[in-house]
């Protein structure tokens, strides 16, 4: 029988996860402002423009608006504040 060994676990220590609730959903998108947040990945602007057009053609009652952060991969509190102040919902993309 082979000898038993005791070895260390090589992993670090993960942080505690604290649960967060989702925001209340909208009963309908009619008449609501939906921000399309262009995350600035290459070609996401084209995707968001197409999404904007789709809303205009299929759900014209939705006030869809494109908005962009100042930089990609960097939180933009000013942009978030504007979405919170003026918007009812947000679609973010496109993450690779």
């Amino acid at each position: 029988m082979s000898e038993q060994m005791v070895v260390h676990d090589p992993r670090g220590f993960p942080p505690k996860v604290t649960g967060k609730r989702l925001a209340p959903r909208l009963q309908s998108l009619d008449g609501k402002v939906v921000y399309l947040v262009d995350c600035l990945f290459d070609n996401s602007e084209v995707f968001m423009n197409q999404l904007l057009d789709w809303f205009g053609e299929h759900l014209p009652s939705v006030d869809a608006r494109i908005i962009k952060p100042r930089q990609s991969w960097v939180d933009d509190p000013a942009m978030r504040a504007r979405v919170q102040a003026d918007g009812n919902a947000a679609i973010l993309g496109v993450g690779l």
Partner: protein, 434 residues
């Protein structure tokens, strides 16, 4: 997720290879039911018509219409799970359950704790011996690492670093270098799709004290300290930051050989210029490790010969525009530049910056320049804003002088140089970790 917490219902759109990662990230943020929708990969290079087809098509993950996923994501009433989120503690043990060497080796492979080369199992005795290489206490928390800026960061102690140093085959006398790398906060195992690596340059007396070799084969597998320190940096990065598992915690499309090991000492004694760390403000007698993020491209050449200016203009034009280079020169090359009047590396970097240019058309036609630099340019941030104003055929500066790093190493068997994607991140004291 910040918008959700602020009361704004959101749906995040990703491409489908990122389904596992985006869901794992939502879970780690306590919001496992965060609404997500997916489109096919790739997005880059697709025409407006092709992207419209994505929008009018099927979510490749849920197999439901993409727009239905979006609209329902904003309007489907919340259930109990949505309202509660998920809270939980996670932990990793100090020691694993006893087992045979063979089974433990297999356990490390199965759990993806290795680089798939054989590791030295971190027994209590071996780790205790490694800890003799520092005066710091084993339970001292020395830093945090994350695979990208937006992912959760995991903490680690001196002992956890020692465990990974043992696995890599390091000797205790190398341990202060490994600790300095761990404490840098810069991961050597980015999860970016771009397949980055981090290169480490060691300066100061410790190079000779621990037997690092800046001579023949300096960038290859020819020296125990060079090889195992670089390997330890990569192993500790993947294990201490919460993994580097393809599809889950690693998304590099091609991967990177420099993720095995990429640490080397500067040939200070044979360099015609001041040591790299001295130019960063440290004293010559201090031991320091500097880290360079990138490792994405490699360009090589010889010289400087008669046409060196053209050669370097071509070489710089081949660099990724968003990732400044680390240029490693054999001492023969460095002396050749001194002969041409470059009596400091700053002067040479300034020449490269001034003369190595690219047309504005080519400069801006790059995925990451568009993603990372164009928003800055549009916001008026210099020097990006001026480059954006340039005519398409105008030659624009690729890098600022301070962006270009130059190190001297090599065995003087040839006047060779090599240029790596290597944005300078920081220099960290090794002496602090002795």
């Amino acid at each position: 997720m910040a918008l959700e917490q602020a009361g704004v219902p959101t749906v995040a759109v990703h491409t489908d290879p990122f389904a596992r990662l985006s869901r794992a990230t939502a879970l780690a943020n306590g919001m496992p039911t965060a609404r997500q929708a997916f489109v096919p990969q790739p997005l880059v290079g697709r025409t407006p018509e092709q992207l419209r087809a994505y929008i009018e098509g099927t979510d490749p993950v849920s197999k439901r219409p993409f727009m239905q996923e979006l609209i329902e994501g904003l309007s489907r009433p919340l259930d109990e799970k949505d309202l509660k989120g998920v809270s939980f503690e996670r932990s990793t043990p100090r020691l694993l359950a006893p087992d045979t060497e063979e089974k433990l080796q297999q356990l490390f492979i199965d759990n993806k704790w290795t680089d798939f080369l054989p590791v030295t199992l971190p027994t209590e005795e071996r780790v205790a011996n490694m800890l003799k290489g520092t005066s710091h206490k084993p339970d001292e928390v020395i830093g945090r690492l994350a695979p990208t800026a937006f992912r959760e960061s995991w903490a680690f102690t001196v002992e956890k670093v020692a465990v990974n140093a043992v696995m890599a085959g390091c000797k205790p006398q190398y341990f202060p270098v490994v600790l300095a790398l761990a404490a840098s906060g810069q991961t050597a195992r980015s999860s970016s799709t771009t397949s980055f690596a981090t290169l480490a340059l060691v300066n100061g007396p410790i190079r000779n004290e621990i037997g690092m070799d800046s001579g023949i084969g300096v960038l290859g597998p020819f020296n125990h300290a060079n090889a195992t320190i670089g390997r330890a940096y990569n192993l500790l990065s993947q294990n201490l930051q919460g993994g580097s598992v393809p599809g889950d915690t690693y998304m590099g499309s091609l991967g990177n050989w420099y993720n095995y090991s990429a640490a080397f000492p500067e040939a200070e004694e044979r360099s015609p210029w001041l040591p790299f760390h001295v130019e960063k403000g440290f004293k010559r007698e201090e031991s320091v490790v500097s880290v360079f993020f990138g490792g994405r491209y490699t360009i090589a050449g010889f010289g400087p010969r008669e046409t060196w200016e053209l050669e370097f203009k071509r070489a710089f034009a081949a660099c990724e525009q968003h990732l400044a280079p680390l240029l490693v020169m054999d001492p023969i090359v460095a002396r050749g530049f001194v002969d041409r009047g470059f009596d400091s590396r700053q002067k040479l970097a300034a020449w490269f910056s001034e003369h190595c240019r690219l047309s504005a058309r080519e400069y801006w036609d790059n995925q990451w320049v568009q993603t990372l630099l164009r928003p800055l340019a549009e916001a008026g941030v210099e020097p990006h804003a001026s480059k954006l104003k340039a005519r398409p055929d105008e030659m624009v500066r690729l890098f600022q002088p301070g962006d270009i790093s130059i190190a001297v190493a090599g065995g003087e068997t040839q006047g060779a140089w090599r240029m790596f994607g290597g944005r300078y991140v920081k220099s960290v004291s090794i002496d602090k970790w002795r």
